[in-house]
């Protein structure tokens, strides 16, 4: 057998965090001109492997080779000099700097030693155009949505990658069109002989673009092989180590009796944020919210929760007028809210998993009726088990958990408050198949238990699977409310796209 | 010989001690008595602020400037500017290292002499007995601390029975004076080995007296206390027999300054270049109660 020379290779990598083995003797080889999908459950070690390949972490064992030569990468900058461009999992850019600077940081064009800003911005505009983004390159990155930031991160990595491009869940916050465009670019790069690593939890995307696949489970290498001879079921079985059955994505039966009215938003809105909308929510139903990126779904959710106060319209809870001006009002009425940006608004990185779970409940209880450690342990343990949170210990800081597990912790946080109404903003973003199915199951279960839910999601199949009704947002305005047989992807897409159709609420 | 209606700028160092506050209030009093419009600028202990203040006075076109310089060096340029603008400058309570023609006069005490007077008192008091002295210095690097240390050392030089065994800074404050004295007492056999304490100002001495009492010793008897400034509180201590001697530093520097200024403005009479105020020694024999009463209204 001839030894292949890999563009980038990891041999026998071991990585240990505390007493948790994140990577156990993992081999991984990348050929030039291939798209290589790296798959595994949340916490399998994918991101960790990427960080070692790019010098962000130092391995505790094993070697990294570039073009067959062992290399020692002390930091991501060295990786860049080897022609490795990377998008790390959470968007890791600088919200305080301009889009152009984020694209070129460290490689800005200079003239007489000074950064040539004009050229940088022209170049940036050209690059962004390829991704269908028409934004001002001199604007601050933080002013743009997560999706835009994600695209900028990808563009940056592509620019830096002379040889290898690594994308760790780049599509988590992109819509279909943007994903398609990204795939075009990836195919292009592959044709030019680049090696591309692609991490995602969307199996469709894997099959759409990848040539080979490597699967990790619990920090161990399961298998690397060509994708041609594999089916989805194979992949899932390898990832989980067991079979799971897909629940068919069908709409909720119409026969279900509607519960009594829980919430009634009338002409509810906020100036310069969301146009007034009308929405009645019953107990035991899931309202799906669909819309393009930046269509104002998150802002609507924030207004419902009082994170931004509504400045017009009325709200009735259980038939009684109510006012919700801040989250504490909402929480005392039994609301809960899982925000979209987990890192910035969800987790308390240095607090333990246990504390992250009980904190909203404790907030509801107030300053002086503190849960003692045993009570906290009991609650956290209960949800940790129910949600299958993978953490070495409930006392470890949540920031050390993988993204999917963090999301489950935040969901647990709200379930612990025994809510009547839950708002979930992109609850399945960046979550593996197993956990994804689990969260969808949880949503269904909660609905059956009589909770009312509003779920924002960019995945239409998913929204369709659990929603009793779907509202569609466009340009910060609620433009449609769909129910019954209208709950199918085709109608939704039409509602999102159709400018003529008036609100049918 | 009338200064009324004249505008005089006064650049004061700050208000770091009771003595400084007294100097400020005495200066204001003196100005008021003479009908002077006094422009007061507090420099918050910073030389750069004093320079700014003087420049500001020049820009306003005042008739004269008083400065209590925070440090001796660094005044040449700004004094030259004042001279260019033909504004007479009088230095208060400290001299400066600048050509003498740049200022009208300097009204100040002789800080080295203050230290010497204190030292001489100790030499006279202990006679030929052995005496181990602990010293509470002022702020490290400040001019009075350097000079008062030097003067005291000059006075005890040649008297081998007297020696300074420990010397630390008490930052011119009561609480640091007390803390440092506590340390000295612990370090010197519970205070048994200390014969006298010399403090660069009265505030530190007052703190030290409390530390001595807390250690179960009698200040003024077991440990002699001598210090400088003559602020009201030290006279209370002298009256109670808890302090032995203090050297006066008068807060009235402005009075003589205004006098020579009046003469100068009237007919150009050049005053003496250095007007030295008296460094008078006060002990329990000098009517401490009376001195206390006389001083307590001065804004110490």
């Amino acid at each position: 057998m001839t030894e292949t020379v890999y563009a980038l290779e990891a041999r026998g990598i071991v990585k240990i965090f505390g007493n948790h083995v994140a990577l156990d003797n993992v081999d991984f080889g990348l050929r030039a001109g291939e798209v290589h999908a790296l798959l595994g459950e949340n916490g399998a070690g994918k991101s960790t492997l990427i960080k070692i390949l790019t010098g962000a972490y130092q391995p505790d064992g094993g070697t990294v080779l570039a073009d067959g030569e062992p290399v020692h990468l002390d930091n991501p900058q060295q990786a860049q000099t080897h022609g490795i461009g990377t998008v790390y999992q959470e968007v890791n850019l600088l919200p305080n700097r301009s889009v152009a600077e984020n694209l070129f940081l460290g490689h800005q064009p200079t003239r007489f030693g000074l950064v040539n800003r004009r050229k940088m911005e022209t170049d940036a505009r050209g690059i962004l155009k390829r991704y269908g983004l028409d934004i001002d390159p001199s604007s601050e990155l933080g002013a743009h949505s997560v999706a835009v930031q994600q695209i900028v991160a990808i563009a940056r990595a592509v620019e830096l990658s002379g040889k290898v491009l690594i994308l760790d869940e780049p599509t988590a916050s992109l819509d279909r069109n943007e994903v398609e465009r990204l795939f075009d670019i990836i195919r292009d790069l592959r044709a030019q002989g680049l090696a591309v690593v692609f991490i995602t939890h969307f199996l469709d995307q894997v099959f759409a673009i990848a040539d080979r696949v490597t699967i990790l489970r619990n920090g161990k290498l399961v298998e690397t092989r060509a994708l041609d001879d594999m089916t989805r079921t194979d992949v899932v079985r390898l990832m989980l180590g067991k079979d799971i059955t897909f629940s068919g994505a069908t709409g909720v039966e119409d026969a279900r009796p509607m519960g009594e009215v829980l919430l009634d938003f009338a002409n509810y809105g906020r100036k310069r944020s969301v146009q007034p909308f009308n929405l009645t929510i019953h107990k035991g139903e899931v309202i799906g919210v669909a819309g393009l990126l930046g269509s104002g779904r998150t802002e609507m959710a924030r207004i419902m929760f009082g994170a931004d106060a509504a400045d017009e319209g009325t709200l009735e809870i259980g038939g009684q007028p109510a006012s919700i001006a801040r989250p504490t009002d909402a929480i005392s009425r039994g609301f809960g809210f899982c925000p979209e940006d987990r890192k910035a608004e969800g987790i308390f990185g240095d607090l333990s998993v246990r504390e992250n779970i009980i904190i909203a409940l404790q907030g509801k209880l107030g300053w002086f009726s503190a849960l003692n450690r045993d009570e906290q342990m009991e609650i956290a343990g209960r949800f940790g088990e129910a949600m299958d949170i993978r953490a070495a210990s409930l006392d470890m800081p949540i920031k050390l958990l993988s993204g999917g597990n963090q999301q489950k912790v935040i969901l647990s946080r709200w379930l612990a408050t025994d809510p009547a109404f839950l708002i979930l903003d992109e609850p399945t973003r960046g979550i593996d198949v197993g956990a994804h199915a689990e969260i969808v199951r949880t949503i269904n279960r909660l609905r059956d238990e009589g909770l009312a839910l509003v779920v924002i999601s960019s995945e239409l199949d998913e929204v369709v699977a659990y929603s009793s009704r779907i509202v569609v947002m466009r340009d910060r305005e609620m433009v449609a409310e769909l129910s019954g047989e209208n709950i199918n992807p085709g109608v939704i897409v039409q509602a999102i796209a159709n400018h003529r159709e008036g609100p049918s609420a | 010989q009338d200064l009324s209606g004249k505008v005089v700028g006064f650049s004061q160092i700050g208000s770091e001690s009771g003595w400084r506050a007294a100097e400020t209030s005495v200066t204001k009093q003196q100005a008021e008595e003479r009908g002077i419009d006094l422009k007061f600028a507090d420099a918050q202990q910073k030389q750069e602020n004093q320079i700014k203040a003087i420049r500001g006075f020049i820009a306003q076109g005042v008739d004269a400037i008083l400065v209590a310089p925070v440090v001796a060096t660094g005044w040449d340029d700004v004094l030259a500017e004042a001279k260019d603008a033909e504004i007479p400058v009088i230095l208060l309570d400290r001299g400066v290292d600048a050509p003498e023609d740049l200022y009208l006069t300097s009204v100040a005490s002789d800080q080295v002499k203050e230290g010497r007077v204190a030292g001489q008192w100790l030499v006279d008091t202990v006679g030929s007995e052995d005496c181990k002295v602990v010293e509470l210095q002022g702020t490290v690097g400040s001019t009075p601390a350097i000079n008062r240390k030097q003067g005291f050392e000059e006075a005890i030089a040649g008297h081998d029975n007297i020696s300074i065994i420990r010397s630390q800074t008490g930052d011119f404050t009561r609480s640091k004076g007390k803390e440092v004295m506590e340390g000295f007492i612990k370090a010197e056999n519970g205070g048994g080995d200390i014969c006298a304490v010399y403090a660069h100002n009265d505030d530190m001495a007052v703190g030290a007296i409390q530390a001595i009492k807390d250690a179960g010793l009698k200040p003024g008897e077991d440990i002699l206390v001598v210090s400088i400034d003559a602020v009201p509180d030290i006279f209370t201590a002298i009256a109670a027999g808890e302090a032995n001697a203090t050297v006066e530093l008068t807060p009235n520097m402005a009075g003589p300054a205004f006098d020579v200024l009046a003469a100068y403005l009237a007919d150009g009479t050049m005053p003496e270049k250095f007007i030295i105020t008296e460094s008078k020694l006060y002990t329990s024999a000098d009517d401490p109660e009376g001195e206390y009463e006389r001083r307590k209204g001065l804004g110490y």
Partner: protein, 322 residues
């Protein structure tokens, strides 16, 4: 208008209003003499504040600058007056020592992962202590070179003077602005202050940048020390006590966020001028006692901060509406 330009604008407007008000009360404040003094008297503070701007932009803080000014002054005074060195040689040595000193602080901050506040506090003790170990006296400098520099003055009509050190400060501001806004190093500094983890993943040489920032701050503090010695023709171990707080105030009033990542070197310039304006106003007023001086400075500081916030909020509203 870009989001980050707003605080800068706010500060500039406040300065203009405040100056106009002061001139209405004391017309002589509007003279070339006062304007020239603004530059000269605040030269060392301004130069220090440029370095502080970089440190704060990078998300750090440097408490040692005042002490470095004191140390540099004493060192060059002793070298020139006692050891007979030429001032330029003394300057070179002082700057080199400061660069080393800042570099070591940067290394400690990066590799020991100790907060900058504490490392530079220890640095402040060290530099101040070092100065008083060299000498406790204030040492006058009488060198022809010093006389020559202090004669380098552009006289303005109306009795004003533009001094060498005032112009030097302006030059440092211009160079600082170029460094911050037009070089890679500058972009690294902003990156570090924006998010250190992201910056490192994006390939910013974090260690080098951190060390560079503190070196720069110390070198500029040493330059400020040289300026201070030119200003006073002397070196004094207790010089410039508390200047770190003035510099930090100037930077923050100038619209730079203490948490790092946002701000402008030019804003700091306006911040320095604003502080100078307050002091000049108090001197012109001349009726405030020591304590009222403090209270008024605190009150004006408060006023500026609140005004800045209000203007900031108002312009944010306006932007959303547009």
């Amino acid at each position: 208008m870009s989001r980050s330009l707003r605080p800068l604008l706010a500060t500039a407007i406040i300065f203009a209003i405040a100056y106009a008000l002061a001139v209405m009360q004391f017309p002589s404040m509007f003279s070339t003499r006062v304007l020239g003094n603004f530059l000269t008297d605040n030269a060392f503070l301004g130069i220090t504040a440029v370095g502080m701007t970089f440190v704060i932009l990078s998300g750090g803080i440097d408490l040692s600058v005042g002490a470095v000014i004191g140390f540099t002054g004493v060192l060059i005074a002793v070298l020139i007056s006692w050891a007979g060195w030429h001032p330029l040689a003394a300057f070179a040595l002082a700057l080199a020592i400061a660069a080393t000193f800042g570099g070591i602080m940067g290394l400690a901050i990066h590799y020991l992962q100790v907060p900058a506040f504490i490392v530079t506090l220890a640095g402040m003790f060290l530099a101040r202590g070092g100065a008083s170990v060299i000498t406790q006296d204030s040492v006058p400098i009488n060198h022809d070179f010093y006389g020559w520099i202090s004669d380098l003055i552009i006289r303005l009509p109306g009795g004003g003077r533009l001094s060498f050190i005032g112009l030097l400060m302006v030059a440092v501001f211009i160079l600082g602005a170029l460094l911050a806004h037009r070089t890679r190093f500058g972009s690294y500094v902003y990156a570090l202050g924006g998010n250190a983890v992201s910056a490192s993943l994006m390939g910013v040489p974090v260690a080098r940048t951190t060390v560079g920032v503190y070196m720069l701050s110390s070198v500029l503090a040493a330059l400020a020390g040289i300026v201070f010695s030119l200003y006073t023709s002397a070196g004094y171990p207790l010089a410039a006590v508390g200047v770190e707080l003035d510099a930090i105030s100037a930077v923050v009033i100038g619209g730079t966020l203490l948490t790092g990542g946002y701000g402008f070197v030019l804003g700091t310039f306006i911040g320095v001028m604003l502080l100078g304006l307050v002091q000049t106003y108090i001197i012109f007023d001349g009726t405030l006692s020591s304590w009222w001086t403090k209270i008024v400075i605190g009150g004006l500081l408060f006023l500026f901060i609140v005004l800045q916030r209000l203007i900031f909020a108002a312009s944010a509203q306006g932007e959303k509406a547009s």
